[in-house]
């Protein structure tokens, strides 16, 4: 990573801070624009056609969302008093923010763009880029609209990922599913959302690092390359953790969120959430099962050697992901 990219990464982080800490909608918008303009140099690569295409698509979608965002906040400023609520204005603002974060009815750009990005940029797109729109969403929230949206998010995330053979698209759809959970958590409280986001970022970072190291982009690469058996095992367990299987830490945020949702009487929505995360778990397991069990023809020249330093780092993260929830009970000793 050259110094150029470090610079833009720095601006990316600070643009988010600008927009979430500003006290006017306009300041928020400025932050969003800086964010867009700093992310595009990060993803575009002059020699790679796919990343250029992705950056172009990203720019188009984000700018249209920004146009609509500034249009609706100006509308709000001119037509309404300061703390007045209006359903349609709030839906307009929410829609443009949902477009920015890639939530369901406006998510169609999201898998397409992720297909052209590297794993690290995907990681940024799935985690850090969610922060600004979500915080802004929580400022002016239309509850009924968001409830519908989050349910749709979980369903589409589950169903869309079912047929994918590209790992990046698959992770994108799983991120859409998790976006539903995050929207549900931001309905309840900001702290809960922060907890969920941190946990999710942690889990998805492990997966992205894994795939980055192994250079995996498609499912069949898992079958044909000679990966170490223990790495496959780590992959399996981290997938289970990401899907939210109980003994692992991925279950922990979902558990708390389920608890809160039930106490707020969202029974049917909780049911849909849990069932769709079962589907997610199903296609995770399907990937890993076949890579364990299938006896593919091994390409002997495709041996993957991992550097020792990276392995120790990944082992540490995986250890946290596997035993985190069990270890966290030690706090109460």
């Amino acid at each position: 990573m050259n110094s150029n990219k470090m610079f833009f990464l720095f601006i990316l982080f600070f643009s988010t801070l600008i927009s979430i800490s500003s006290n006017s909608w306009f300041g928020c918008w400025i932050g969003l624009e800086i964010n867009l303009l700093s992310f595009i140099p990060l993803i575009s690569h002059s020699t790679n056609l796919f990343s250029t295409e992705a950056s172009l698509k990203y720019f188009l979608t984000q700018s249209i969302a920004s146009i609509n965002f500034i249009f609706s906040i100006l509308m709000k400023m001119t037509l309404m008093k300061n703390f007045e609520m209006n359903n349609f204005i709030s839906i307009m603002i929410n829609s443009s923010l949902l477009m920015k974060m890639g939530s369901v009815p406006f998510h169609f750009w999201f898998p397409n763009i992720s297909e052209g990005l590297s794993w690290f940029n995907n990681f940024l797109l799935m985690t850090w880029q969610k922060i600004t729109p979500m915080i802004l969403l929580s400022y002016y929230l239309n509850k009924n609209f968001i409830i519908i949206i989050m349910t749709l998010n979980t369903i589409i995330g589950a169903i869309g990922g079912l047929n994918q053979s590209s790992l990046r698209k698959l992770m994108t759809f799983s991120s859409i599913n998790n976006l539903g959970w995050m929207l549900a958590s931001i309905l309840i409280s900001e702290n809960l959302w922060m907890f969920y986001l941190i946990m999710y970022s942690f889990l998805i970072s492990i997966m992205c690092f894994f795939f980055q190291l192994l250079n995996m982009f498609f499912i069949n690469q898992l079958f044909i390359s000679n990966i170490n058996y223990s790495i496959k095992m780590f992959l399996l367990i981290n997938f289970l953790s990401l899907g939210g299987l109980p003994p692992f830490i991925g279950f922990f945020p979902k558990w708390i969120l389920i608890n809160f949702l039930l106490s707020m009487d969202f029974f049917i929505i909780t049911f849909i959430f849990i069932m769709t995360s079962l589907i997610i778990l199903f296609f995770y397991i399907r990937i890993i099962y076949s890579s364990f069990l299938f006896n593919y023809i091994n390409l002997k020249w495709m041996k993957i050697f991992l550097k020792n330093k990276n392995l120790i780092f990944i082992n540490f993260l995986s250890f946290l992901s596997i035993t985190g929830m069990i270890l966290s009970t030690l706090i109460f000793l």
Binding site: K57, L60, T61, I64, A65, N68, F71, S72, M75, L79, N86, F88, I89, I91, M92, S95, S96, M99, P105, F106, F108, W109, P111, N112, I156, I159, G160, L162, N163, I279
Partner: protein, 579 residues
């Protein structure tokens, strides 16, 4: 080392124990003594779990017989199973069998009876499948499952007896006699005993269990497994008097006796004939027991144990010499070649028929005379005497086939009668089957039964025996052509020779419906509806949704942006309508 084989050691040990038991029995019966040992293992609330041992003349005498027969059988199997690779396992199994039988004999406690009872069932399964072929597997499974029914009833008895606070049934026989629960318990006990003693609905396993090695048959079908049910009912007999179920038992056991007698006449397998005669004698014991004379049943049980074990051992010798052929049509004239074995065979056969002054005479004649003397209906009377005639019938037929008719197996043969290991063990039982009837009748009956009958009724046994003997003689000389005439009465003769269709009923008759039900459940539930509504159906629906969704996902990028803008326009329009 050959001298100290496991057979030899076990023989000495068991024989010694048998003699000790014999001496103790004489001491006990002279002094009219009973020893009752009780060790309390644990007490939960008011239920005490105790291990108790009852030693009286009855259990000691029965133990003496079991140990004597088992010692002799083990000595016999030293030669009979001499080329067996796992002889040690075989002997250990037999010893385990004897051990469980003794546990059953000495315990007055229904829990420890269950231990012995289950041990008998398990070890008998292991012994029946000893030869490890499909026939013996099937026979073993039939045996084990039939006995399992009895185990279940004993378990139910245990749970009923929890009401009384202890499982020592011996204390409650008199005391709780009129209790309703005790009535239930005794009914359950009767059914359990019927399974173990192979009475009519459960009798198909007994001939099937002939798949076991012959020494095992000699042990199992003379004194141990099949008599366990009779012994249990003898112990429980105080409860059983004047029960309705006992009258049903009388009918069923009488029919068992009759059915087994007829089926034995149709049978050509040497061991199966003997097994069916065992079944017939068991029916006799059960029926005299259910008429309220447990002493006579016990007496017949003991004498029958002796000569039936001898009969099986002789059959084993003959099968050995016939190159493992069991079909009696291929045997014949063996009295010319193996006189000692033929002697034993004849004596045990005649004792079975009740020829005077052999073992069977004392018990059987006494039973029949007591039957004539007692107050009972005509059907039962006919069944008793017809079965006695049938016993003579199949015995004479068997003797004619084996001893007199022509040898039919192969033109080159070598029979020899100098296997002294087998002969010596048979001699012990020969001695016992000559003297045990008189010895026991002098020993265990304190005062002789008073018999007072008209001449023709008294001579009725002789009439039916002579008649049966003559028919047996004629049947054994029947030509092949005449045998074909059985085809004219095909239905009735297959009914009679297949034990009244009982083996088919208790295997295919039961299996079929459950297998059919299982197949239907598998077809319609497991592979049908539940698959459609859970696994495959869910997968199918989700897959279709996913395909449907991909139709929207793979689209022109312009359309996404345009639809978003349209959505915002619509919202804007609605918002303006508001203001």
């Amino acid at each position: 080392m050959k001298k100290f084989s496991i057979c030899f050691i076990s023989f000495f040990f068991l024989f010694f124990m048998s003699m000790v038991n014999f001496m103790m029995m004489i001491y006990f019966i002279m002094n009219n003594m009973v020893i009752f040992l009780e060790w309390e293992v644990i007490t939960l609330n008011s239920v005490s779990v105790v291990m108790s041992i009852l030693l009286d003349w009855m259990s000691l005498l029965f133990m003496m017989f079991v140990l004597l027969i088992s010692s002799v059988v083990i000595y016999y199997s030293k030669s009979y199973m001499s080329s067996e690779l796992n002889l040690n396992r075989f002997i250990i199994l037999v010893l385990l069998f004897v051990f469980s039988m003794i546990l059953l004999i000495i315990s007055p406690n229904i829990v420890s009876i269950l231990l012995g009872w289950d041990g008998l069932g398990l070890v008998s399964y292991c012994l029946v499948i000893y030869y490890q072929n499909f026939k013996s597997y099937n026979a073993g499974m039939l045996t084990a499952l039939s006995n399992r029914v009895g185990d279940v009833f004993i378990l139910m008895v245990i749970s009923w007896m929890l009401n009384y606070g202890s499982w020592n049934y011996i204390f409650y026989l008199m005391f709780m006699k009129n209790d309703y629960e005790m009535y239930m318990i005794s009914s359950l006990i009767i059914i359990a005993a019927m399974t173990k003693s192979a009475q009519i609905p459960f009798s198909s396993w007994l001939p099937a269990a002939m798949a076991a090695p012959t020494p095992v048959s000699a042990l199992v079908h003379s004194s141990t497994l099949v008599t366990a049910g009779v012994y249990l009912l003898i112990r429980f007999n105080l409860l059983l008097i004047d029960m309705l179920f006992l009258k049903i038992l009388l009918l069923l056991s009488g029919l068992t006796m009759f059915m087994a007698g007829i089926s034995a006449n149709y049978e050509f397998d040497l061991k199966k004939i003997i097994a069916l005669s065992t079944l017939s004698q068991l029916g006799l014991m059960m029926s005299i027991l259910s008429m309220g004379m447990p002493d006579l049943a016990f007496f017949h049980l003991l004498t029958h144990a002796m000569f039936k074990a001898l009969l099986f051992m002789c059959a084993g010798v003959i099968i050995h010499m016939m190159n493992d052929t069991q079909d009696i049509r291929l045997m014949g004239g063996i009295s010319n070649y193996i006189p000692m074995t033929s002697l034993c065979m004849n004596i045990s056969n005649l004792a079975l028929c009740g020829i005077p002054f052999l073992a069977g005479f004392y018990s059987k004649d006494l039973i029949l005379e007591m039957v004539s003397l007692s107050n009972l209906n005509l059907l039962i009377y006919y069944i008793y005497y017809l079965s006695t005639g049938l016993t003579m019938f199949y015995t004479i037929r068997l003797i004619m086939y084996l001893m007199v008719n022509d040898y039919n197996l192969m033109s080159i043969y070598n029979l020899y009668d100098e296997d002294y290991t087998m002969l010596k063990s048979m001699m012990v039982l020969l001695f016992m089957s000559v003297i045990s009837g008189s010895m026991l009748s002098w020993m265990i009956f304190l005062n002789p039964y008073m018999i007072y009958l008209p001449l023709n009724m008294k001579m009725m046994v002789v009439y039916v025996s002579l008649l049966g003997g003559f028919i047996g003689y004629f049947v054994s000389n029947m030509m092949i052509y005449s045998m074909n005439k059985f085809l004219m009465t095909y239905n009735i003769s297959s009914f009679l020779c297949l034990m009244w269709f009982m083996p088919s009923l208790s295997t295919y008759g039961l299996n079929y419906y459950f297998l059919k039900l299982g197949q239907n459940l598998l077809k319609y539930i497991d592979l049908g509806w539940s698959e459609l509504y859970s696994g495959q159906g869910m997968y199918y629906i989700l897959k279709n949704y996913s395909i449907f969704y991909n139709f929207y996902q793979v689209n022109n990028f312009k359309i996404y942006l345009f639809s978003f803008v349209m959505w915002m326009m619509i919202l804007y329009y609605f918002m303006l309508m508001k203001f």
